[in-house]
Amino acid sequence: MPREIYAYKCRKCGHVHYPYRMVCKNCGKNEHNEFEPVPLSKSGSLLTFTTLYSLPPDFEVPSLGLAIVALDGGITVTGQHRIDEPETGMAVRVEVEVVRRDGYDEHYGMVFYKA
């Protein structure tokens, strides 16, 4: 089964949030569970990026690409990138993969590739 990462759409005003929050940022609707999960777009453009050389202990690699991507449809997300020569504005596609291993736990998240 393909894994999805979801944004959360307010059932009252339609505002889409990522990540999840308990109360709508736009209309302030203060009811429990009033968000509808909507899958995040699988394409977007690179807003900014870095290569991190000083890594948290869970990562046993020499460097890690991180990026903020503006997804098509208006949501902006943070994730890892695996792009050799990244440039801002570059079109990217999004895959959902294991982004962190912490003991036996595997955490899934967004990984950006050149489109």
């Binding site: 990540p19 900014t48 903020i68 962190r100």
Partner: protein, 393 residues
């Protein structure tokens, strides 16, 4: 409701370095210094700022340990945790306690002992303040958020790696005049940017940020004692008023911000701190900004209102932010040179400003300084505390 004026009557600080003492003693030592400075041991309440005691040092309930180690029981005491803005938050809470009339004399001390673990673990501990599922799982750290922010700022406003290196050189060399600073090593643009060895001396940590763009991981403590005007006049130290406090928050995840080159919480907290004090950015003679990364000094100098947006790096080029310039910033060395024991930093900034406004700062004294300002930046700009101080006759 009218609020009372609040004054700083005593200050104390430890060396910012690696300290082989228990966390509670790192908080208590500057408190003893501050009580000597103020000439009083009559403390109604303690606020103890700390971020990592529970995680890094396996010590919780720090305030209870500190109040007892200072033999100040049964005074009330609380630990205040607000990430890297814990210090600023504790000063703000102390201000509220005195201004409201609840207490007459309040001790605000802060401490951090981060070097009990190695640098990577310390960076990972600070990274726990990022969004757990939208940022932290990816390996996002504060240096990486700062790096992505820096790239946008470079593209939009023409800031270069040279400007960043200029902040590093200015602040780290300023720290040579501060006996309590962590880094006492003179650096030059040549050594960290231009020479053939620069890439070895100053490698990328998170491109485009290099090693010398990041503050060191430090242990240290700092303390200020706040009091009502009546107590301040009785104590007889130079009258320095904590004239205004401001605090604002922003989205937890950095990617959610509408304009990714804005630090709105800094702008709002600073405006509030000025408004409450009846002061403007033009009144400020000396400022301590939160340069955990060199880019932040440049951007905060704009968002706090000292320079127009996108022109902080030009003021830096003109030397306006150096000692002797129009608005000296981080003459203490800043986080970059003095060090950044996270929970203590906001209080160390207040320490420096009071030291300056009293005219006791020696070789690094800003001439005729009467109004001072601090900006303590928590998270990556999601929780910011600003303070204004004014010397009175």
């Amino acid at each position: 409701m009218t609020m009372r004026d609040v004054y700083v009557i005593g200050i104390g600080i430890t060396s910012f370095t690696r300290l082989e003492f228990p966390l509670s003693e790192i908080a208590a030592y500057p408190a003893m210094m501050a009580m000597k400075d103020a000439g009083t041991r009559e403390i109604d309440h303690l606020y103890v700022a700390n971020m990592g005691g529970g995680r890094v040092n396996h010590q919780t309930g720090l305030a209870s340990a500190v109040v007892d180690t200072l033999s100040l029981t049964p005074a009330g005491a609380e630990t205040i945790e607000n990430g890297p803005a814990s210090g600023g938050s504790a000063v703000k809470t102390g201000y509220m306690a005195v201004a409201s009339g609840l207490h007459d004399t309040v001790m605000v001390t802060g401490a951090e002992r981060m070097r009990e673990v190695n640098n990577l673990e310390a960076t990972d501990f600070v990274a726990t303040l990022t969004h757990p599922i939208a940022e932290h799982i990816y390996g996002v750290t504060l240096p990486s958020l700062a790096a992505m922010f820096t790239r946008l700022y470079m593209e939009k406003y023409g800031v270069t790696e040279r400007h960043l290196a200029m902040v590093a050189v200015k602040n780290q060399n300023a720290a040579l005049l501060n006996e309590f600073a962590h880094l006492h090593q003179r650096i030059s643009i040549e050594g960290i940017l231009d020479s053939p060895e620069a890439m070895t001396n100053n490698p990328y940590v998170a491109e485009p940020l290099r090693f010398f763009d990041c503050c060191p991981v430090s242990d240290g403590g700092a303390c200020v004692i706040l009091a009502s005007e009546e107590v301040a006049r009785k104590v007889g130290r130079p009258l320095v008023k904590l004239a205004g406090v401001g605090q604002a928050t922003d989205t937890h995840a950095v990617h959610e911000r509408e304009d990714p080159t804005d630090l709105l919480a800094v702008r709002r907290a600073a405006a509030m701190a000025f408004e409450r004090a009846g002061l403007t950015p033009a009144d400020v003679d000396v400022a301590e900004l939160h340069d955990a990364f060199t880019i932040l000094e440049i951007v905060e100098s704009e968002e706090c209102g000292f320079f127009p947006k996108g022109e902080g790096h030009l003021a830096l080029e003109r030397g306006e932010t150096a000692l002797g310039g129009k608005l000296p910033i981080n003459v203490s060395g800043g986080l970059k040179g003095r060090g950044h024991p996270v929970g203590a930093t906001g209080i160390a900034q207040a320490y420096e400003i009071v030291h300056q406004l009293r005219g006791e700062a020696g070789e690094r004294q800003v001439k005729d300084a009467r109004v001072g300002f601090t900006c303590n930046f928590g998270g990556f700009g999601n929780n910011v505390v600003c303070l204004t101080f004014k010397k009175e006759d």
